[in-house]
């Protein structure tokens, strides 16, 4: 259709788009540079030093990184974190999806979603406080119930074998509603006529979920998975309140180990080195995950 002068106008349009694009990004970019990039560079720099916060940092090259390789506490914390992610992500995502689909199908009242999201309204710290009371081995409500039904008392957060699962459960309790809400928002973007057409063709609930819902939810699913994975690797608040890394180091996740080094042992350099390693790992995992999920494409377009 457009032939004459199209090259010139396209070039002009592109230049203009570049300019507007940069202008749109500018404020966020400033925030990014000053409060993310700059401190990250500082952290990388600190990771090359021996710094206890109170004295001038001493340059030590890559000593912190070499120490890291042979630090069994670091590897233990990496393993514990991985276990937490394994407990947390699949359950939370599956429950969130189930909840979203159920409320989309059966009960679209606002009040239901308001109730489901309620746990997310309170902070991790508060959630941990309430749950540690409910899960107390001797005085807690949950153990009172288990004793009545004959299962018997459990240690939960006080037991080295159950503490990590309990922490994951608290976190799942708080976040499932949020995950469900995100999925629910995504479900609303799926054109209803697709379902009607499928139903006319005699498709059941499962087929519709499998063939329509899941593929079309992919961008949201990608978002949920990426953010909750990153969040899970950085689990901290619940552990700080409920277990402080114990019992017997069973919940000493990587962020708790960083915290211990930074603020308890005052080894800022070492703490920064672990953070940098965690950071790089997360980037790699996310890249992999995004590739697998093709997060940028929705099957709708």
């Amino acid at each position: 259709m457009m032939k004459a002068g199209s090259n010139v106008s396209r070039a002009r349009r592109r230049r203009k788009e570049t300019l507007t694009g940069l202008l749109f990004v500018a404020p966020a970019l400033v925030g990014f540079l000053v409060f993310y990039l700059l401190p990250t560079l500082r952290a990388i720099q600190i990771s090359l030093t021996d710094w206890n916060l109170m004295r001038a940092p001493k340059f030590v090259g890559f000593a912190n990184y070499t120490k890291l390789l042979g630090d069994e506490n670091f590897w233990h914390s990496a393993w514990v974190t991985f276990a937490y992610v394994l407990y947390n992500i699949p359950i939370q995502t599956a429950l969130g999806l189930l909840l979203a689909v159920l409320s989309d199908r059966l009960a679209r009242a606002v009040s239901l979603r308001a109730v489901i999201i309620a746990p997310y309204l309170i902070s991790n710290v508060v959630a941990a406080l309430v749950w540690l009371m409910m899960l107390d081995p001797i005085l807690g409500l949950v153990n009172g119930f288990l004793e009545i039904v004959g299962i018997g008392r459990q240690g939960f957060l006080a037991s080295p074998d159950q503490a990590m699962v309990s922490v994951a459960a608290i976190s799942t309790w708080r976040h499932t509603g949020l995950t469900a809400l995100l999925f629910y928002a995504g479900l609303q973007a799926i054109p209803r006529h697709l379902y009607e057409a499928a139903r006319l063709e005699g498709a059941g609930e499962w087929t519709m979920f499998h063939r329509i819902t899941l593929p079309l939810l992919r961008p949201v699913l990608a978002f949920v998975l990426v953010t909750s994975l990153i969040g899970s690797f950085q689990v901290f608040d619940v552990i700080a309140v409920a277990t402080a890394g114990g019992p017997s180091n069973s919940t000493r996740v990587i962020l708790w180990y960083i915290y211990e080094n930074a603020f308890k042992f005052n080894k800022m350099g070492y703490a920064s080195a672990i953070s940098v390693v965690l950071f790089v790992t997360l980037i790699l995992v996310t890249l992999l995950q995004m590739r697998l999920l093709k997060a940028d494409q929705s099957d709708l377009t």
């Binding site: 409060f35 059966l106 109730v115 489901i116 928002a185 209803r192 950085q234 997360l282 929705s298």
Partner: protein, 290 residues
């Protein structure tokens, strides 16, 4: 109405379990708040308060109450002031962050300019930085700028963007139809007009959702306000709660007082959810009908 199939019945049952589990801990917090401090442990495993009292709420708000603790307490915390501070902090963070992040997210999703993907990836990568390491450098920066104990210092790191918000909105801009944009462009609308008049309103649902998420997050934000905003004039609710909890020294926290303060602190967020919840649903339903 439809008849309820067994499948649906099972669905309702699952929903009911979710509702129960979601609310139980919140009920327990309220229950403890209504319990006399000396009964907290004896009645820890029961669902209802053994002795009913409003005294904990009264004493937390600094009003005279019938509950007297022998161990003396540090100066009472002005929770009303903290509430005001939390509102200011949350409102500033949420509105600023959404606006600026939406601008960026729109550009990332809809425009092409050199370095776009690299920049977006840098933003995304920033989500993965453990916030623990950002705190100290940012704290020193804010201190150098003379912004300790000011709202500017409190909101500085988050008002312009968070990687999460940019990422979230970009996903929605990506999946919304482009035809409207094109039509407006042909009518001669500027890029900002398209963004402001067309692209943004379409995303009303997601933006409301994000707004709520961010509001909750800011409302509960602890470590950063704890580092830079300890002064009562800017101390937010989460920090006030921690200060209240810390007044009990090395023993157990004052559970009933703590829970009363917590319940007070969630009321505004619940109100927000109720008010905005309707709006979300409406916008979601309109976007769903298209």
């Amino acid at each position: 109405m439809k008849t309820i199939t067994p499948q649906a019945a099972l669905g309702y049952l699952v929903l009911a379990v979710f509702v129960f589990l979601s609310l139980l801990p919140l009920w327990m917090a309220l229950k403890i708040a209504l319990t006399h401090p000396s009964d907290v442990y004896t009645s820890a495993a029961s669902l209802t308060p053994e002795t009913f009292t409003l005294g904990n709420f009264l004493r937390v708000m600094g009003l005279p109450s019938d509950i007297e603790l022998t161990a003396s307490r540090a100066s009472p915390i002005d929770f009303m002031l903290a509430l005001r501070n939390s509102v200011i902090y949350t409102a500033l963070t949420v509105s600023g962050q959404i606006f600026f992040s939406a601008l960026a997210a729109y550009a990332f999703a809809r425009m092409s300019f050199p370095g776009r993907d690299l920049l977006f990836f840098a933003f995304l990568a920033a989500t993965m930085i453990p916030s623990m390491v950002l705190f100290i450098p940012n704290f020193i920066l804010v201190k150098q700028l003379g912004l300790l104990n000011t709202f500017t210092g409190l909101v500085a790191p988050t008002i312009l963007m968070t990687p999460f918000a940019v990422f979230f909105l970009r996903q929605f801009f990506l999946s919304s139809p482009k035809e409207l944009d094109e039509a407006a462009r042909l009518e001669g609308a500027s890029q900002f007009q398209i963004f402001w008049r067309i692209a943004l309103p379409i995303q009303k649902g997601p933006i409301a959702t994000l707004g709520i998420l961010l509001a909750i997050q800011s409302w509960n934000e602890f470590f950063w306000p704890f580092l830079v905003g300890r002064d009562a004039s800017v101390r937010v609710m989460a920090v006030a709660l921690s200060d209240f909890m810390s007044q009990t020294g090395r023993g157990n926290p004052d559970w009933s007082g703590l829970m009363a303060a917590i319940v007070l602190s969630i009321i505004p967020v619940i109100t927000l959810l109720v008010v905005f919840g309707r709006q979300i649903v409406e916008s979601l339903q309109t976007s769903g009908m298209k």
